[in-house]
């Protein structure tokens, strides 16, 4: 009798374990049907929905071929660094979708943040993980003078332009004459070392303005180049196009059933589309998603500090080096700065996400599989609150979402001649 009881219990345990295993690991969804709302959401993510890049009112040469020529040369030029070994392309490597594959960027020294991809960033109103810059050209200036990145300074950079015939010609054809550098120190900046800052203060204010103006033009040229770094069509986009033509279509050669199930979760129960929306899979906004602080650092204030920095930035949209009028600067003028943006970081694009590991603002999460687990659990934020809620997805569903992420990679829509050094 006892034996029978033990057998029954053992059978019950194994049956329930088996059921739990099956529930967790087998797909039950029927992915062959899309609702009208799902079809609309899928099309909203398609690259076909991405409008042509509009002008940047703060950079009148954003679409200028002469500025592009200069920006392209400068992007790959290691002479824009204190040890002549670091260029923009050292961290923004074209072969890695303009990322570096590292948790934290390494320029002259190890930096405090993970290198974000540059793909499609020309569409964003904000730059840096905390949005401390409000244009692509203003962003491009900061690494040049940051101690852990290029560790250069604006006077050294203008000097380089003046002394290299090719760069000088390229600059002057786009922006006109370079400022006069005679009587100026070799190196000076309002942001550099104590000696550089002192040297900067010794320069007359009209000369300071001329140097900072030329320095701003360097950023505008770099932006003219970076505007060309655009995402290309992926398997997902082909599926969206097929679906637009035939709404009844289910599994195809373009996406398999696992990837389609992942897409269904992405726009539905997974809630990924809340922030990763539109054809670039980002709302360009700032969210606190409870990512652990970077090892050795305090939890960052994120957008709360970022917007305050942007407002004070002399290179912002409203500043003297911007080509915009006040009416063009709506993002900066009406930006939100309340407590609810504490700890919020910018939503990155998911285009090419499978090629741009590791993830998050400090590269804290190594793999996409771990990212899915992170969002499924939605841990408590160390600072302020996690906007995301636990998803309670099953293991198989996390795998489906991860499989869908793999469909978002494809060659850039950028001519190959711009993807390697001149």
């Amino acid at each position: 009798m006892k034996k029978i009881l033990v057998s029954i219990i053992a059978a019950a345990i194994s049956l329930s374990s088996l059921s739990y295993f099956a529930w967790n690991n087998f797909s039950f969804s029927n992915t062959n049907e899309w609702s009208a709302e799902e079809l609309r959401l899928i099309q909203s993510l398609s690259l076909a929905e991405l409008p042509a890049l509009s002008t940047d009112p703060s950079n009148r040469l954003a679409n200028d071929s002469r500025a592009l020529d200069l920006g392209y040369r400068l992007f790959f030029d290691t002479r824009l660094s204190s040890n002549s070994q670091v260029s923009c392309s050292s961290c923004h490597r074209p072969e890695l979708m303009f990322t570096d594959g590292l948790p934290l960027a390494i320029g002259i020294d190890i930096g405090p943040r993970h290198t974000p991809s540059l793909v499609g960033t020309a569409y964003s109103p904000w730059f840096y993980w905390d949005g401390r810059k409000d244009s692509q050209w203003a962003q491009a200036l900061a690494p040049l003078e940051a101690r852990h990145e290029h560790e250069s300074d604006r006077v050294s950079i203008i000097r380089l332009l003046a002394e290299d015939a090719l760069l000088k010609n390229s600059y002057e054809s786009a922006f006109g004459s370079l400022p006069v550098l005679e009587s100026l120190p070799d190196s000076a900046s309002p942001l550099g070392t104590d000696a550089q800052q002192q040297a900067w203060q010794d320069i007359e204010s009209n000369q300071q303005a001329a140097i900072s103006g030329a320095f701003a033009n360097v950023g505008k040229a770099l932006a003219a180049y970076q505007r060309l770094i655009l995402p290309g069509r992926t398997r997902f986009d082909r599926y969206a196009a097929e679906l637009a033509a035939d709404k009844e279509m289910g599994e195809t050669e373009t996406l398999n059933s696992i990837e389609i199930a992942g897409l269904k979760l992405f726009i539905g129960q997974g809630q990924c589309i809340n922030c990763h929306n539109g054809p670039l899979f980002t709302n360009h906004e700032f969210h606190n998603t409870g990512v652990l602080a970077i090892a050795g650092q305090l939890p960052p204030m994120g957008r709360y500090d970022g917007i305050r920095t942007a407002r004070k930035d002399p290179f912002n949209c409203l500043g003297e080096f911007s080509d915009a009028i006040e009416g063009d600067c709506t993002e900066l003028r009406f930006a939100r700065d309340e407590n609810d943006v504490v700890g919020a970081q910018k939503t990155p694009t998911l285009r090419n996400v499978s090629l741009t590991a590791p993830y998050m603002h400090g590269g804290q999460i190594k793999t996409l599989a771990e990212v899915m687990v992170h969002y499924n659990e939605a841990p408590t934020s160390m600072l302020s609150h996690n906007e995301a809620k636990p998803l309670e997805l099953r293991a198989v569903e996390l795998k489906q979402l991860e499989a869908f992420m793999e469909t978002l990679s494809g060659p850039l829509a950028t001519s190959s001649k711009w993807l390697s050094a001149p």
């Binding site: 609309r40 809340n274 709506t330 003028r333």
Partner: protein
């Protein structure tokens, strides 16, 4: 942050207006002309909203024209209008702080800096102060 809606009415008027249902916002509202709205305030002001981005799309900053008339259908001049909003289902506010920057005509105000960053149900609260009176109106929209 989001007071109960009891006096809100939303109705369809003419070509340029759409129905805003307070009970069950249609999931397909974004497919129609989702740009012009009309609501009444608690004290009976009539508020017409004309989005200068039509239809309203996510992730694009734009302006609204807000036209306010009193119970006698006269333009409400020199009013102070504040707009806040958010997504009740997601417990967060607007990504921007829109502000009225100009009264372009008597009773007609320019609201700049409007942007929505998620699809779904949004709730907008207008607070109108005029001549010592304070009044509120709530607009719900589905993007």
């Amino acid at each position: 942050m989001f007071p109960k809606l009891n006096l809100v009415t939303a109705f369809y008027i003419g070509f340029s207006f759409i129905v805003i249902s307070l009970i069950s916002s249609s999931a397909h509202a974004a497919n129609v002309n989702n740009a012009d709205f009309r609501v009444s305030s608690d004290a009976g002001y009539s508020i017409a909203v004309y989005s200068q981005l039509s239809p309203i799309e996510i992730n694009k900053i734009h302006s609204w024209i807000i036209e306010i008339t009193d119970r006698n259908n006269r333009p409400l001049k020199s009013a102070n209008i504040e707009m806040v909003g958010g997504m009740p289902d997601h417990d967060h506010g607007l990504p921007t702080e829109p502000q009225v920057t100009e009264e372009v005509e008597p009773g007609k105000y320019l609201l700049e800096g409007v942007r929505f960053h998620m699809q779904g149900k949004w709730q907008i609260i207008f607070t109108i102060k005029e001549n010592g009176n304070k009044d509120q109106a709530i607009l719900e929209l589905q993007l």
